[in-house]
Amino acid sequence: MCFSLHCSHHHPVACIVPPYMLRVMALRGDPRTAEMARALLKQTEKLRDERAELNRGGLPPAHPISGAFATAAVSPAEGLCCPDRRIHDGQHKAALPGKLIRSEGDGPTGIPDADTAYDAAGQVFSLFAKEYGRNSLDGEGMPLVATVHHRRDYNNAFWNGTQMAYGTGDGKVFRTFLELSVIGHEMAHGVIQHSGGLIYENQSGALNESIADVFGSLALQRALGQEVHQADWLVGRGILGPGINGAALRSMKAPGTAYSDDLLGQDPQPWHMDHFVATSDDNGGVHINSGIPNHAFYLFCAYLGGRAWELPGRIWYRALQTLNNPMASFSDWADQTMDAAIELAGRGSIETVMLRRAWKLVGIAI
């Protein structure tokens, strides 16, 4: 096999590691391995342009492999206690993390964005710790580092692999990103990364986005003590600008209805596979097609009633820990949630019947 770092010095054709495996290694490997994999991928891409027959390197394994992520991450962490939050002020610059302004245990700073980031990070930590037995984003107690006031008039929030960053918005399209479902969404990207990862394009990328939305929404519902039918199932409620005709960025209950505005157009999210959007923009529509698995999760919760972060959340969390397929399709993910539901609720249980019904209603048969 071509897993050694020496591989990067070989002619790419001599390296038998297929591109899909390189992409997993780039995602999961230690820094040296990831760098090697990325270098090889670059070479492969160049060759692909030159030689059309190298377009596809092969298929992913037919059956998930029991790997380190699956075995380690489904076991509740030991010594699970408290978050280690570190909130920084980016001072409207791009350099991260910026100036440390609030550490764990410190009192409020009086800076609204910083205090919201601190409080919300605690809520999200609590969701994963108390409900799913996970110690921070990596399962090993990593510090929760966040930067507020990132860049100037920045219309975005993101997870960069080691920390969260939040812009202020330009005041026109977005007024803020400091809202619990958004913060939970970004932190969930960290959980996904440390759970084996999902490659950030096409269906696996849309799953990455959907799972982040699910746990962002669950963090908010849990913090508010809302049962399924009391929640609004909106992601990013109130973050759009004051002149925008819209309630939120996305709706899990009714994808495609979060906003309808002269400037923004219509919310493009589909709720059914019949309306799946094929596009090369947005990494293959990761923020668009996430509406489909989002809606399946909502339907499943609505069928069951009660608290969505309990059994439904546990099923989604367990499925994430056992997936071990960074290129998973929607169908792969649906199958994985069914496996998790059988483990947690029993084969033939009403919960598994409802889960199958939810996926069927969005056009995915399991």
Partner: protein, 93 residues
Amino acid sequence: MIIEIAAQGGFGGIAAANLHKTIDVQDQPEQMRQDLCEAFEPDQLARLARQPCGDCADRLTYRITVTDDRRTRSFTLREAQIPPDMLDLIDQM
């Protein structure tokens, strides 16, 4: 030299929220002109485009087009590939 910058992607995935700027470097103050010429020199952009890009969840993608007297060159850069100083420069433009 004319620099055109168009961004897409991000947490919202909303096209209207994306940055789109065009700037004629010759119209800028001296210091800005110098900073822009250094940061957006095509060979420098090509080098950045070859840098590895790590986790890109919710990050932006920039399409940068530089036109000078001789030709037009375009580069696609992930936000994570662009140095912070250059991002600050983009925000100032």
